[in-house]
């Protein structure tokens, strides 16, 4: 045992220990310098399948600091997660409550296509700039209720995957399109997303620098009883106290403080816990600060019920001679997974006045809800 664990421990711990010496050279967590999805929001954060509104809206904030003008292709895949099953599109479990052994119905290709389109949404933005936001609506089928009853669940923790790609970077999107178009040469629906590792399938052949995949959890309840069901809300933000530090000549270091305030009623809700839930009844919200230059310290800050409703982070950067446009992003997430986000813009130069304002965001449009059930 000694050799095994000794080697494993040495190879794990020593590099980590040595690496600490270079920590200052690692890109800070607040820095957005790659093609990334920064946030995914599900509206509402909880959904009850017994309710009248079984439609969720999934929105995502995508950052591309290179400011590409080309199209963005994306897909949103909603999955329920039960019994530890890997995949998320198991039709039998969804439509036949008695079938809890995961035997599958013999759906025709057309039927499966309809089923498929319930949970897999495709979209496209013709241009995106430095960041973009897009939406998709998904209506959960009423059959989920039967499934949950069969399992005895009052709630299911589900997931939604959002894939965003530069045009042509993600082969899976072309395959999905071909399948939906009925192309006989396309992979079948089962091959596409049935009982597979969704992340592996979605990113197959997609280069990291041209694609981004994000995962978000959300709760599917049989029936919602709480009256409050809001995502948290960033109420206000402000870039203040920009000062010029002269201690780093010849480079000038500027230091700005960014303040974020939340709406406590929406962001720090108190709600009745589900008997099955292990979630907190008193929410805690975390705000994450991002920027496309410099470093924001701290990267995260927390809001508590009895704490201040404003939190600040300091942006340190060394601007060049010419004023530089810097995007700032705030992502707020509460303890049950509710999300809010916004993007800001600052123009900061070595000696120029800082100009700030809402960042122009390319926004996609949501598709019409697909059929709810089959």
């Amino acid at each position: 045992m000694a050799t095994t664990w000794r080697l494993a421990a040495l190879l794990a711990v020593l590099p980590a220990a040595f690496a600490t010496g270079c920590e200052q050279n690692v890109r800070p967590r607040s820095l957005v310098d790659q093609f990334k999805i920064l946030a995914v929001k599900v509206e509402p954060p909880d959904v009850g399948v017994m309710g009248r509104n079984r439609t969720i809206r999934v929105s995502a904030l995508l950052a591309d600091p290179t400011g590409g003008d080309g199209p963005i292709e994306y897909a949103v895949v909603a999955c329920t997660n039960y019994d530890g099953v890997v995949g998320c599109l198991e039709e039998a479990a969804l439509v036949e409550e008695s079938d809890i052994e995961n035997e599958h119905l013999d759906l025709s290709e057309e039927e499966y296509r309809e089923f498929f389109t319930t949970f897999v949404k495709r979209g496209r933005l013709e241009t995106h700039g430095r960041h973009a936001e897009f939406f998709q609506d998904i209506t959960l089928p009423i059959e989920l209720n039967a499934l949950m009853a069969a399992y005895g669940y009052t709630q299911v923790d589900a997931r939604v995957y959002v894939l965003a790609c530069l045009e042509g970077a993600c082969p899976v999107l072309d395959d999905i399109d071909a399948f939906l178009a009925g192309d006989p040469a396309a992979p079948t629906g089962e091959e596409l997303l049935y009982e597979i590792s969704i992340p592996a399938a979605l990113t197959s052949g997609a280069p990291m620098e041209q694609s981004a995949l994000a995962k978000k959890s959300y709760r599917v309840l049989q029936e919602r009883t709480d009256t409050s069901n809001d995502n948290p809300d960033i109420d206000a933000w402000e870039l203040v106290d920009c000062e010029q530090l002269l201690d780093a000549e010849p480079q000038t270091t500027r230091q700005c403080s960014i303040e974020a305030s939340i709406d406590p009623e929406k962001s720090l809700q108190v709600y009745e816990p589900s008997p099955d839930s292990s979630l907190l009844t008193q929410e805690v919200a975390v705000v994450r600060f991002y920027s496309t230059a410099g470093e924001l310290v701290p990267h995260t800050a927390q809001f508590f019920t009895n704490g201040p409703m404003t939190q600040a982070s300091t942006l340190k950067l060394q601007p060049g001679e010419d004023p530089e446009t810097i995007d700032l992003y705030l992502v707020l997430i509460d303890s049950r997974g509710g999300v809010d986000y916004l993007s800001l813009e600052g123009v900061i130069g070595k000696s120029t006045v800082v100009r700030t304002g809402d960042s122009p965001t390319v926004r996609g449009e949501t598709l019409a809800p697909a059929g709810s059930g089959f």
Partner: protein, 807 residues
């Protein structure tokens, strides 16, 4: 003081000379006691002519090597102006009788040493005792003479003398580290001291002490060994195809044999450099007992502690280690040799937290390791044809590794015994049989990464392994060694038992005195680690892993000191224990399951692994003995593994990647995919040379080139919105280890100067590591978002001065 002595001596010599001239001038009689007093001898046949009574005395003494004080044998000692001459015996002693009294000039000479001429005043009838030190000439090497115990039956065995090994640059003077420069050995990151031999995993190779496996041989970071190499007779490096004396491993072996006796007068040394200091004393008690005591303590923690936090940004308990050994040799009669060794070793290292943070004081990572052993060896040679060796070993280990909230703590207790008989059954047959048995009390406590659960295990494991080997010489040029070993392993409490039958065969052919060819084949088995088969966390149904090793090779001497040898090898491994692979869901998904659902069963260890390693080794060596020694070692290897001997398509399908089935590249469609082994290094070239420059100066260098280790980069990543964390994704087609780190190469230099005094010597040395400051990448890691690879470099240019004083 010296000048006063010289003056007194000058006057004394003058007085003696005057006295001596009186009889020479014609004085026919002297008192029997002569001018010097004392009894003289009457020698009628002396130079004084017949009838002249001549006064004589006796001169006896010892001749020792300056610096080491080792007795010198065969030294010619003659009395000037006479024909009296003698030689020293093995103890360095000489005796000259009937030496004419008066001024005697002793001339002392031995090839390789500076001659000495000593003027003495000998009184008639007296016995003059002399102790003379001879200084080695510039081209004379200080050699540590050791006995070689047994004839080797191994097909490929590289033995390096302790002294030779200590002069290799890059080893910090630690002879045991020299094996990392020999053929078959791949380079280990950070030179950690583990063995990666002929494409085998570090877990498959091991260190032995007198044939008994020991858990660790090196202190952390592999800077130095945990046992003083000066206690050793030889370092035996067996990369493969070894005899059935050794088992329970599939890879290579390094066996350390203790010196039988630490002869001579009391010797000792202090060796110090910027990292640690070693102190050793050895000597004999009477004619039957000898002893050696050694201790070493590092102090790099003291040296660097004030700077460490600023340097790395973390509060650390810097690595510190110490070890100590007590060795006793006892030779009750010429046929029996008894050795006792008690040793202990300790290492500790911890990262406490970020400098200045409130977490300082609570380790974020901690490694500590201690072990102790008591080893008793009794060797009896009953006759030229029958010998018996019994080795007993016992001791506890303690290993503790913690990283964050995960930790592993193991406190096993080892007992081991080897009972071996060697019998000559005629002029051409020799049989070796024995029992190699171990009993281990395993005890561990593990908290696995990603879980909140800890597992405790405790059980006794028994492993008696009998072996029998025959060495047959059907003709003078042919030698056949065939043996059978049965490795067994029982852990009753866990219901685990396994047996591996291991036949082995080696054939040697010596067509001439300077050439030898060999071929070998054999099976080698290895039992799973206890953490792999304990029921709570492992799989009690695991089988032992097995390897079939094949080798052909040869050796040719190209002169007295030059030789070349090479081997081709192939190793086929099966039933390798493979790590449990998590399902293709994110680990956090397991915790999103409803509370009444335990989720899918986590997979356990399996025997699905297969491996193969093949390659060639070459060693061109100029042996130790003259001014220049060194070697060129080259190893060409390819080592591969597969965890499922099925086609890529099947693997993808089994992994529930149906979508990807349609996208399997054509070249993979029908092929079983073999991934490169984690430490596969296609080429390893080592050049080692040391040269005696004369006047006690020596200089050496080592150049090493090794292909970079394979790595598996992430192909993409998943951003987990809820935690703001990232999960890596890997290309399912490319498999593991499809990229490589850049090659490693570095030059180390060593220069040393020895200052020899009568009773002791001092060596000052300077090692220059990585002379041309190659930024070698030792390993790498991803930052939080897997967005780039971050490299961790090896040692920069590093001068390491050291001193060694020995008496």
């Amino acid at each position: 003081m010296t000048e006063i002595r010289r003056t007194i001596r000058r006057y004394a010599l003058l007085a003696i000379a005057l006295a001596a001239t009186v009889p020479a001038a014609g004085a026919s009689s002297r008192s029997p006691s002569g001018g010097m007093g004392g009894q003289g001898a009457v020698d009628g046949a002396g130079p004084g002519g017949p009838g002249v009574e001549r006064a004589t005395g006796t001169v006896k003494g010892k001749v020792l090597e300056a610096g080491t004080r080792n007795p010198l044998e065969g030294v010619v000692v003659l009395a000037g102006g006479t024909e009296l001459e003698t030689e020293t015996d093995a103890s360095g002693a000489f005796l000259l009788e009937d030496v004419p009294a008066g001024v005697v000039t002793l001339k002392i000479a031995l090839p390789g040493y500076k001659g000495a001429s000593v003027d003495l005043i000998l009184e008639p009838g007296k016995v003059l005792v002399v102790k003379q030190y001879l200084f080695p000439r510039a081209d004379r090497r200080y050699a540590m003479t050791v006995e070689t115990r047994r004839e080797s039956e191994e097909v490929t065995e590289h033995n390096v003398s302790i002294e030779e090994a200590g002069k290799i640059p890059g080893t910090f003077g630690d002879a045991i580290r020299v094996v990392q420069n020999l053929p078959g050995a791949a380079r280990v990151p950070y030179s950690l001291g583990f063995l990666i031999i002929r494409g085998a995993s570090p877990f498959d190779s091991g260190y032995f002490l007198e044939g008994m496996q020991i858990p660790n041989l090196y202190h952390f970071l592999g800077v130095t060994a945990a046992i003083n190499a000066d206690l050793l007779e030889q370092i035996e490096y067996l990369p493969g195809g070894y005899s059935c004396r050794y088992g329970r491993l599939m890879g290579g072996i390094v066996n350390l044999d203790l010196r039988d006796m630490f002869g001579g007068p009391v010797h000792g040394y202090v060796d110090t450099d910027i990292i640690d200091t070693t102190v050793m004393v050895r000597g004999t008690v009477g004619t039957r007992w000898s002893y050696a005591v050694s201790a070493r303590r590092s102090y790099i923690d003291y040296v660097l502690d004030p700077f460490a936090a600023d340097w790395v940004g973390y509060e650390m308990r810097l690595p510190k280690y110490w070890d100590a050994q007590l060795a006793v040799g006892y030779r009750p009669n010429v046929r029996t040799q008894v050795n006792l060794l008690a040793m202990t070793s300790s290492d500790a290292f911890a990262v406490l937290g970020q400098a200045g943070s409130s977490s300082s004081g609570q380790p974020t990572a901690e490694l500590s390791s201690q072990f102790a052993r008591v080893l008793l060896r009794v060797h009896t040679r009953f006759s030229d044809r029958l010998a018996h060796t019994l080795v007993l070993s016992a001791g506890p280990d303690s290993e503790y590794y913690q990283y964050g909230s995960n930790y592993v703590e193991g406190t096993p207790l080892y007992f081991a015994a080897r009972d071996e008989w060697v019998a000559g059954l005629g002029p051409s047959l020799r049989m070796t049989g024995g029992l190699d048995a171990t009993m281990t009390r395993h005890r561990f406590d593990i908290t696995l990464p990603g879980t909140a659960s800890s597992f405790q295990g405790e059980a006794f494991a028994y492993s008696p392994s009998p072996y029998l080997e025959a060495e047959w010489r059907p003709a003078s040029a042919w030698r056949l060694v065939t043996g059978l070993r049965t490795d067994t392993y029982f852990v009753p409490r866990e219901g685990f038992s396994a047996i591996v039958v291991e036949p082995r065969l080696s054939l040697f052919w010596e067509p001439g005195e300077r050439m030898e060819w060999h071929a070998s084949a054999g099976q080698y088995g290895q039992f799973p680690d206890e953490t792999e088969f304990f029921d709570d966390i492992g799989n009690p149904g695991l089988l032992p892993a097995k390897a079939l090793q094949f080798e052909v090779g040869g050796r040719r001497d190209l002169g007295n000191l030059l030789s070349i040898e090479g081997s081709l090898f192939y190793t086929a491994m099966r039933d390798l224990v493979t790590e449990p692979e998590m399902p293709l869901i994110d680990i956090e998904d397991l915790f999103l399951l409803p509370p009444d659902n335990t989720g899918p069963d986590l997979p356990s260890y399996t025997n699905d692994g297969m491996g193969r390693a093949y390659g060639a080794e070459l060693l061109l060596r100029r042996h130790f003995g003259e001014r220049l020694f060194g070697w060129v070692s080259y190893t060409l290897t390819r080592s591969e593994r597969t965890s499922a001997p099925t086609s890529v398509v099947d693997q993808v399908r089994e992994a529930k990647l149906q979508y990807l089935v349609a996208h399997v590249p054509e070249e993979y469609q029908d092929e079983v995919r073999w991934d490169l082994f984690d430490y596969d290094q296609t080429q390893v070239l080592t050049l080692v040379a040391s040269y005696d420059l004369g006047n006690n100066w020596e200089a050496g260098g080592r150049f090493m080139y090794a292909t970079g280790n394979p790595i598996t980069p992430a192909s993409n990543r998943v951003f987990v919105v809820d935690t703001a964390g990232y999960i890596p994704l890997y290309d399912p087609f490319a498999g593991k280890n499809y990229q490589r780190l850049p090659p490693y190469h570095a030059l180390d230099l060593r220069v040393a100067r020895k200052f020899v005094f009568k009773r002791w010597w001092l060596e000052a040395r300077l090692e220059l590591q990585n002379v041309y400051y190659r930024k070698n990448i030792e390993t790498w890691y991803y930052p939080y978002d897997y967005g780039e690879k971050l490299w961790i470099y090896g040692l920069p240019f590093l001068p390491v001065p050291g001193l060694r004083g020995e008496f």
